[in-house]
């Protein structure tokens, strides 16, 4: 019994319960410092603080209730102003999927070229180094101006932030294939094309997949911000919209969903990585 209590998941549940208790205690204490701050937020958001109850940080029960309502109406699609949360998530995931796929289609072949020809890598390296640290949102106005379409712009933002980790890890993986495997190809006379497809590519799969995992994480991270700026749908738009309506409970529900989906994407890519990578 004591052993079972020492399991890490027992501690996780205890931390969760403790967190909910503190949250409940803080949000049900009347006229705490938090309510005063909420009035401030309400003014900042350009809304009249219509009574402290509406704008206060909601209690865990209120959030749970709101979560239930949102999920009950998740698939609503009767008018553009009443889109269910599931549709917003679908929009976001579709944009991430498109931008990520485009990035993958560019990063892997280009990474291969950079990895196989060090001179190309050296020539492109300065551009990669300069572009990579640019915050994806810095591209937003330029993208909106160029594409004149918010959906294409968000997809472009996802592309531009997802492409670098995959490009660099593919190039590194391709360039650092073990010398013994390269020697196998040379000693037995494996021709160039077969060498690339059957030796270099499988050898770099683990690196490519770890780059994909980093990229999908960043893409999911960025989509929320991108949709806040330039979209009329998606989970980022939803959060921003709920903030404008001071629906704090909805925002919290959305944050939890964003986290859960991000985790799911990461686990899926990790599984794929384990399936496709070679074992030694």
């Amino acid at each position: 019994m004591l052993n079972r209590l020492q399991q890490p998941w027992v501690a996780s549940i205890a931390i969760f319960v403790g967190f909910i208790c503190i949250w409940a205690w803080l949000t049900t204490t009347p006229s705490g410092p938090i309510s005063a701050a909420d009035a401030e937020y309400a003014r900042l958001a350009g809304q009249s603080a219509s009574g402290q109850q509406a704008s206060a940080i909601p209690s865990p029960w209120a959030v749970a209730l709101r979560g239930y309502e949102l999920i009950a109406h998740a698939l609503d699609n009767d008018n553009p102003n009443n889109l269910g949360i599931a549709w917003h998530l679908v929009y976001s995931m579709a944009r991430v999927a498109l931008g990520f796929t485009l990035a993958l289609a560019v990063a892997v072949p280009l990474g291969f070229i950079l990895g196989l020809w060090p001179a190309c890598y050296q020539a492109l390296d300065p551009f990669i180094q300069v572009l990579r640290p640019v915050s994806p949102l810095a591209w937003m106005p330029l993208a909106l101006y160029t594409f004149r379409d918010s959906t294409i712009s968000t997809i472009f933002i996802i592309f531009i932030c997802a492409v670098w980790p995959m490009l660099i890890s593919t190039a590194t993986g391709t360039a650092s294939v073990r010398a013994e495997w390269l020697n196998v190809s040379r000693v037995f006379g494996v021709p160039k094309l077969e060498h690339v497809t059957r030796v270099v590519f499988p050898a770099s799969v683990p690196m490519i997949l770890s780059g994909m995992r980093i990229s999908i994480g960043i893409a999911w991270f960025v989509i929320v911000a991108a949709e806040m700026v330039g979209a009329q749908s998606g989970i980022g738009y939803f959060i921003w919209n709920e903030w404008n309506n001071l629906q704090i409970a909805s925002m919290i529900v959305a944050i939890v969903l964003v986290g859960a989906i991000g985790l799911a994407l990461d686990v899926i890519l990790k599984r794929i990585g384990e399936r496709l990578s070679f074992r030694e």
Binding site: V187, G189, R198, F278
Partner: protein, 264 residues
């Protein structure tokens, strides 16, 4: 005509600080058809470098290698190699690993024939049960068997082995040595093998070539091992002849060419 002619081969490397390091200094050695030659010498003296030059993986700074009277300019199908770290591709099954090599050596042959050759090669080293297995599913000794099967499968004139059994335990090593002797005797392959195991060298070799200490290693001494085959591993360790070779090689390695830090 020698099968393999190493003619006045020197090799120098330029290290990172730009200093030149002479690894091999004018090495000449002619190896006859179906002769088994072991290279021994202290670690770092240049044995792998010499073997890689013969394989065509490295080009010598000066001198030439001839294999069956053709000058070596790179790797070729008449020279196959067994690597120390087995060097199997982990994403291919054992038979696919062998097939990859066979396919290049018998280019144009029908797929069924190539597959057949690959399977035959694995049977030759008693691995018929591991044909469809991945390298991670089999033991270290079995992986090295696959490495040997891959090398023999391309039917090379010259087989090169770089400390192939160095990472194996003593029992596995002896059984692989027996296997190697058996196959070499039936295929009449010429063999150059690097080893640091003196007993292994005596058991396998027709000639043992000892390199002097690097840098600028040269051939220090050559022993012709005349013990008739088939050789008895046990008798070699007790018979006068075996003991004599062992003593001479040890003397060479520890007295005449002591490892730098042992020299006093």
């Amino acid at each position: 005509m020698a099968d393999l002619d190493i003619n006045d081969v020197s090799m120098s490397f330029v290290d990172r600080s730009g200093k030149q390091l002479i690894a091999l200094d004018r090495i000449s050695l002619a190896i006859e058809h179906s002769e088994f030659v072991c290279l021994i010498g202290h670690s770092g003296c240049g044995k792998s470098t010499l073997l890689n030059i013969v394989a065509g993986l490295l080009m010598p700074t000066s001198g030439t290698i001839r294999c069956a009277s053709a000058v070596v300019t790179g790797p070729g199908p008449e020279r196959a190699m067994v690597f120390q770290s087995h060097a199997l591709l982990p994403w291919m099954t054992c038979v696919e690993n062998v097939h990859l090599a066979v396919k290049q050596a018998f280019r144009g042959a029908p797929r069924s024939e190539l597959m057949d050759r690959a399977e035959q090669a694995l049977k030759l080293v008693h691995l018929e049960h591991a044909i469809g297995k991945y390298p991670f599913e089999i033991s270290g000794g079995m992986k090295q068997r696959v490495g040997i099967a891959r090398a023999f499968a391309v039917q090379p004139k010259v087989l090169l082995l770089d400390e192939p059994f160095g990472a194996l335990d003593a029992l596995t090593r002896s059984s692989l040595q027996d296997e190697l002797v058996r196959i070499v005797e039936t295929t009449k392959t010429t063999v150059v093998m690097v080893t640091h195991d003196i007993d292994e060298a005596i058991f396998l070799s027709d000639r043992i070539v000892a390199l002097s200490n690097g840098p600028a290693a040269r051939i220090g001494r050559i022993w012709k091992v005349e013990t008739p085959r088939p050789r008895d591993r046990l008798k070699l360790t007790t018979d006068f002849e075996g003991i004599k070779y062992r003593k001479e090689i040890l003397e060479f390695l520890y007295k005449k060419e002591p490892f730098p830090q042992f020299a006093s």
